[in-house]
């Protein structure tokens, strides 16, 4: 792991150490925290420890700025959640909030200082057509998209093409499951909906085990490069739910049922390794016995995750270029069967050469 990456990780794990940093190290930590959208979370923790005033004025100014922006983002997100709820209320269906929206509405500590750029919801696969039509009736618009990208979402992905409200900027992603069906992993939306927890106003969030599995799948079935924030999400969720009786047993059982054992194992392993999460040794051993890859694969994955989960600074020579590329390739390899992946890569390369690829469908 590179020096700045280690410094950021250490600062997030142990915020009390931040006021003791020298000017140069503090500057690097702040830059890395901005880059990973972690400044407001760090501010929250430093304020909680009562050590903000021990920092230089230039650092306090940045933290104050991050706090204002994160608060505004939270208000915007709650407003947008409410707009979606109102738009869909007549359908009488379960609307499950995912990720940042769920953390915020469920009042979990993981929402502190967390900035969301989009709103993710999950509905039953049977309702997806009605939900999409209703949202479009009520002012949301589908982004302009070529036929290939439409096909990519409609036939392969776990969500429909993103929607944006005509008068507001925030993107709405409507999911019908938590992992792309084009992969071998097929998770029934009904199973997720049945285990959901109500949070009031007819809104729901995933049950604790599904919430953790979604976070782990999002991170380790896709590309973890530069996604330290998501690992810290996972750390917070595991720390919180780990105190509930029966949580760990349910988690391992549920992961096996969903076919998400491997990403769960990685999630547990790197949460302990990088974020210092307290997970009982018996749970780790059991997850390892059931879900771990072979020793060689695991060594490679260790190297990839440790060298790439904290992004390098653009324009600075970085040892992380190869691991980042390998993780990017891996995420596609996992997501798509080889024939689909080959076709998809060719289409993307052709679009890129023509300079047409405006979408970021990966």
């Amino acid at each position: 792991m590179e020096e700045v990456a280690a410094l950021l990780l250490h600062s997030m794990r142990d915020p009390a150490s931040v006021p003791g940093l020298g000017a140069e190290a503090l500057d690097d930590v702040l830059h890395a925290a901005r880059q990973h959208a972690l400044l407001a979370r760090l501010e929250h923790d430093l304020a909680g420890l009562g050590v903000l005033q021990d920092l230089p004025e230039a650092a306090r100014r940045q933290f104050a700025n991050a706090r204002v922006r994160a608060n505004a983002n939270a208000i915007t997100l709650c407003f947008e959640i409410d707009r979606v709820r109102r738009a869909l209320t007549d359908l009488g269906i379960r609307i499950v909030l995912l990720k940042g929206a769920a953390y915020r509405r469920a009042g979990l500590s993981v929402a502190r200082g967390r900035v969301s750029v989009d709103l993710d919801i999950l509905v039953s696969v049977a309702d997806i057509g009605r939900v999409e039509r209703t949202l479009i009736d009520r002012g949301w618009q589908a982004a302009e998209m070529n036929r290939y990208d439409q096909h990519y979402y409609r036939d392969w992905m776990h969500e429909i093409p993103p929607l944006v409200h005509g008068e507001r900027g925030i993107e709405l992603d409507v999911h019908h499951t938590i992992f792309p069906p084009v992969s071998e992993i097929r998770i029934d939306s009904e199973t997720l909906l049945a285990a959901a927890t109500p949070v009031g106003d007819g809104l729901w969030v995933l049950g604790p085990t599904d919430m953790v599995l979604h976070a782990a799948a999002h991170l380790f079935q896709e590309n973890p490069a530069g996604h330290l924030r998501d690992l810290l999400d996972l750390h917070d969720l595991l720390t919180l739910f780990g105190q509930h009786a029966g949580f760990w047993e349910n988690l391992i059982e549920r992961a096996g049922r969903h076919g998400l054992g491997r990403p769960l194992y990685y999630g547990l392993r790197y949460a302990v390794d990088l974020a210092g999460t307290a997970i009982p040794a018996a749970v780790l051993n059991r997850a390892k016995a059931l879900f771990a890859p072979n020793a060689v694969q695991l060594r490679v994955m260790d190297w990839l995750v440790r060298s790439a989960i904290v992004a390098g600074s653009p324009g600075q020579a970085s040892a992380g270029v190869l691991p980042r590329f390998m993780l990017f390739a891996r995420s596609h390899w996992i997501k798509m069967p080889p024939a689909v992946l080959l076709g998809h890569s060719l289409v993307k390369i052709i679009h890129r050469m023509r300079g047409k690829s405006a979408t970021d469908t990966g």
């Binding site: 000017a23 500057d27 324009g315």
Partner: protein, 316 residues
């Protein structure tokens, strides 16, 4: 030390390595680039700006480079990164300096501890005038016209208001002129330093005017807002001043604010306080000379009227 006083070769090297740190609107922005077209222009246009020490705490780190190694040589394209994010699409290499200015605008608009309005700000005799207006209304042109007649430049783009005391924080960056304004201001101020004209940007032709050294030297000196004047250029129009109502002024300022939604209650209170404390006018004009004269006359009335200046103007 000023940028222009530092050894050029050392600065050029610094652009590649640790970056050149500029202080703007109370922020410290670290500029790093390996594109000479960008660093050459920065050295010219920011010649009189103070150079911050090599080590310190940056509010933003800006990195401008070629989109990929091949693009360094053929069909050159550049990309700007702000703290690792890419808020703008890649651009042709000839817009390297335009990208830097765009990135600096982004940094100033992204700060939420001050309320940032989309307006030019000039000052004379301790009285600051805010010029809010939609793009194309001649705000930057009038701003440049005044600054080249001895007014102090605070900003041609951002009225940065401190919520604590309602005072304006200077930004003092190059003034961006578009299309016909470029030739107009060249004629108005033949001795001023201009960047090359960048043709074919999304806003048409753009050129930058280096601010007077005095405005830059006083860039840490805040100013109290005294007047709000919304300029409207109309070819052939006679010069006219009309009073602007409080609610219309509020809408004009808040509606064009860069971070009004982010600053929430504080944004509302700050803009409301500003509108309450300043007289506001709409200025229509057909020539720059008319507009500059009208502004000078208006300011003179405020100055001579001292405390009752607002009343005198309102009844004039």
């Amino acid at each position: 030390m000023r940028l222009g006083a530092a050894p050029e070769s050392a600065l050029r090297a610094q652009f590649h390595t640790t970056g050149v740190r500029l202080r703007l609107a109370g922020l410290c922005v670290n500029l790093r680039t390996d594109v000479p077209a960008a660093s050459d222009q920065i050295l010219q246009m920011y010649r009189d700006h103070p150079l911050e020490a090599g080590v310190g705490i940056d509010d933003f780190r800006v990195w401008l480079s070629y989109t990929d190694p091949l693009r360094r040589f053929v069909r050159r394209r550049i990309q700007v990164f702000i703290d690792g994010a890419t808020p703008f699409e890649p651009m042709p290499h000839r817009f390297a300096y335009v990208s830097i200015e765009g990135a600096l605008n982004w940094c100033i608009s992204a700060t939420a501890i001050n309320v940032v309005l989309h307006a030019a700000v000039v000052e004379r005799g301790g009285l600051a005038v805010i010029l809010p207006a939609p793009p194309g209304s001649g705000k930057s042109t009038l701003c440049a016209g005044l600054v080249m007649r001895g007014w102090r430049l605070l900003s041609d783009e951002h009225a940065v208001l401190r919520p604590a005391d309602g005072r304006l924080q200077p930004v003092a960056r190059p003034i961006s002129l578009k299309n016909e304004s470029i030739a107009l201001i060249r004629q108005w101020a033949p001795d001023a330093h201009f960047s090359p004209v960048f043709t074919g940007t999304i806003r048409g032709d753009v050129a930058y005017l280096r601010p007077p050294t005095d405005s830059i030297a006083r860039a840490t000196e805040t100013a109290a807002p005294a007047l709000i004047v919304s300029p409207t250029y109309q070819a052939g129009a006679a010069v006219a001043l009309q009073p602007l109502g409080k609610s219309e002024t509020f809408r004009l300022l808040a509606g064009n604010a860069m971070n009004y939604h982010t600053t929430q209650r504080c944004g509302f209170d700050t803009v409301a306080g500003l509108v309450d404390s300043c007289a506001a006018w709409r200025l229509s004009y057909g020539t720059l000379a008319q507009a500059v004269d009208a502004m000078e006359a208006l300011l003179a009335r405020v100055q001579t009227g001292s405390a009752s200046g607002r009343l005198a103007i309102a009844t004039a």
